[in-house]
Symmetry: C2
Subunit: 342 residues, 2 copies
């Protein structure tokens, strides 16, 4: 089925028109059901379309009309993290319902990757962009402003977005978790996470967490696994390192649930009881966490909903409907049973 790569072998509208014995314009009108043609002509054109297997070239359409495309660029840090996979699913389901397509960019939490991706995706004249995170490089911001297309920043709640934003306040969610652990009576508390840009939602959570814990008379010992992904195994080894370097840790808060699971496995493998000997708290409330006999103490966010709302904001803006530009979808604490209950 491979054809010569040099010249297009695609069937064009002109060919359809020629075969049908009409002008390009008439064929175009028929295909767009614009009216201004007889039933006989319509049937003839459609017959040739079928016979030749004509597929419209949307590139040319966009090009002709000075329109933008139906693409929406979507940047997501990673998909190994279930949370972001769900956000993307929510976005794409909603976008595709309205005839848009997601152009994916995995930006790995780095502003440089994001900038490069933005440059590339903008060159395809997307209808809009959905970006994870509120921080962007200066050049990226410049390009985004010049692009003149709708932009939704998701994940971090952002009261002064470039254009629109939907997310949660990560600082607050960290703060609430910190306060909860203090209320549970913990004071010597560990944190295990990965080390990325400071311009990162997880960093905000940690900041909020530390503020609450230290404000409550506690102490946070941090263990950051450098250059690693926020998954199960780093949680395991990060916990090992934390407990080896620090004694007296009563409870550990993890960057996310996957890491918390890893940490919990380390603790139980070492004969520690959760929560009797050590408390474990995650973030994100993965659906799978309900499997465990003990429900993981965590923070719940509706990831799918987050994605859907982001896409809906995009679609509304593209349809020139009024849009509330900033939305906080909130979170709630799952007490679980992996921390000691007062």
């Amino acid at each position: 089925m491979r054809e010569k790569p040099n010249k297009t072998n695609k069937v064009s509208l002109s060919e359809v028109a020629r075969e049908a014995g009409v002008s390009k314009m008439t064929a175009s009108r028929v295909l767009r059901e614009e009216g201004g043609y007889s039933e006989k002509t319509r049937a003839l054109v459609m017959q040739k379309v079928d016979e030749l297997g004509y597929l419209p070239n949307r590139l040319a359409t966009v090009f002709a009309g000075d329109q933008s495309s139906t693409f929406v660029g979507v940047s997501i840090p990673e998909l190994g993290n279930e949370v972001f996979a769900q956000v993307l699913e929510g976005i794409d389901r909603q976008l595709s319902t309205f005839g848009h397509q997601s152009v994916l960019g995995l930006t790995q939490h780095t502003l440089k990757d994001e900038e490069d991706w933005i440059r590339t995706v903008l060159s395809w004249q997307p209808a809009g962009l959905i970006l994870t995170g509120r921080y962007h490089s200066p050049r990226a911001i410049e390009m985004l402003k010049n692009a003149g297309i709708p932009i939704v920043e998701i994940w971090d709640y952002n009261s002064s977005p470039l254009d629109m934003s939907v997310g949660i306040n990560h600082f607050d969610s960290g703060f609430d978790m910190g306060r909860y652990l203090i209320e549970c009576g913990y004071t010597r508390i560990g944190y295990v996470g990965t080390s990325h840009d400071a311009a990162n939602a997880a960093s905000s959570r940690l900041d909020g967490f530390c503020k609450a814990v230290e404000g409550g008379g506690g102490l946070v010992q941090k263990q950051l696994c450098l250059h690693d992904t926020a998954t199960f195994y780093p949680g395991f080894y990060g916990t090992e390192q934390l407990l080896a370097s620090q004694s007296g840790i009563e409870c550990i808060f993890y960057q996310n649930d996957a890491m918390a699971f890893g940490g919990m496995q380390y603790c139980t493998a070492k004969g520690m009881q959760v929560p009797e000997d050590i408390g474990i708290a995650g973030w994100g409330d993965l659906p799978i966490s309900a499997v465990l006999k003990r429900r993981l103490t965590s923070m719940h966010v509706s990831h799918l909903k987050l994605g859907k709302i982001a896409a809906q904001m995009m679609i509304s803006r593209l349809s020139d409907e009024p849009v509330e530009p900033v939305k906080d979808i909130g979170f709630h604490l799952i007490p679980g049973s992996t921390v000691r209950n007062l």
Copy 2:
């Protein structure tokens, strides 16, 4: 930052050329570093590019050159299933390394959705397509053949693909699991899955599974959760329904690990011991399964690798390098400890 939507406010190459006092063609040559211009001219053009914030319009390039774009359409059934999220991550990482972008299509396991998505994405002149599954609607196949672009079918091993294919033999993987359970001494075996198209990898697994079990003197009782996703809760309720309608079930094989976790939770909640009272087997070997005290009996597939190889095949074909068109990446059984060990 919203601008008038009617006329493009984008900076075009002509504007850059005019500002720089050269022709479009010269500016084009400078930007493509094609040579044939003086250093003075180059510097002048680049300065204006910077000043005006010019971003090339790749749509026009593709259009002009009868080339295909750098887009690669990627159809994935769903992202809620971690397995597919990982496949997509593998694909996109590899594609983006070589300057390509993924255009996502969530086709929800239905051929109709896939067909519609193929039609749309082909109209954007993609460089190639990566499709999950070996079954496509007749019209989809027709379009794919006419498109004249590289196509990689993934997930199902497929010895006579449309173009290229990488995956595993799902029938065999089901068969191996069936034989293993028979070897473990089970004969009254349940299956819990969802009901989709028969044209589905999970169906092949079930077929292979039944063949092995029935060939080994066992009996398979199926419980298909209609119109539901293959996740945790359907696994839970499917198990409830199966055990209510059938007695004497000794072991249950699930469509995937997530459903198996749901089933296991149901069983333990009802006071059954795993594997003493009932055996549980999943498929896919989710990383998270290592969290459980008992490793889930499952079937391991390297999802990330699958995606990477698919993308690599695409890239090689696009670079006119020779490509082995069919690849089986295999699987291996994780005995685990959720089935009775002989």
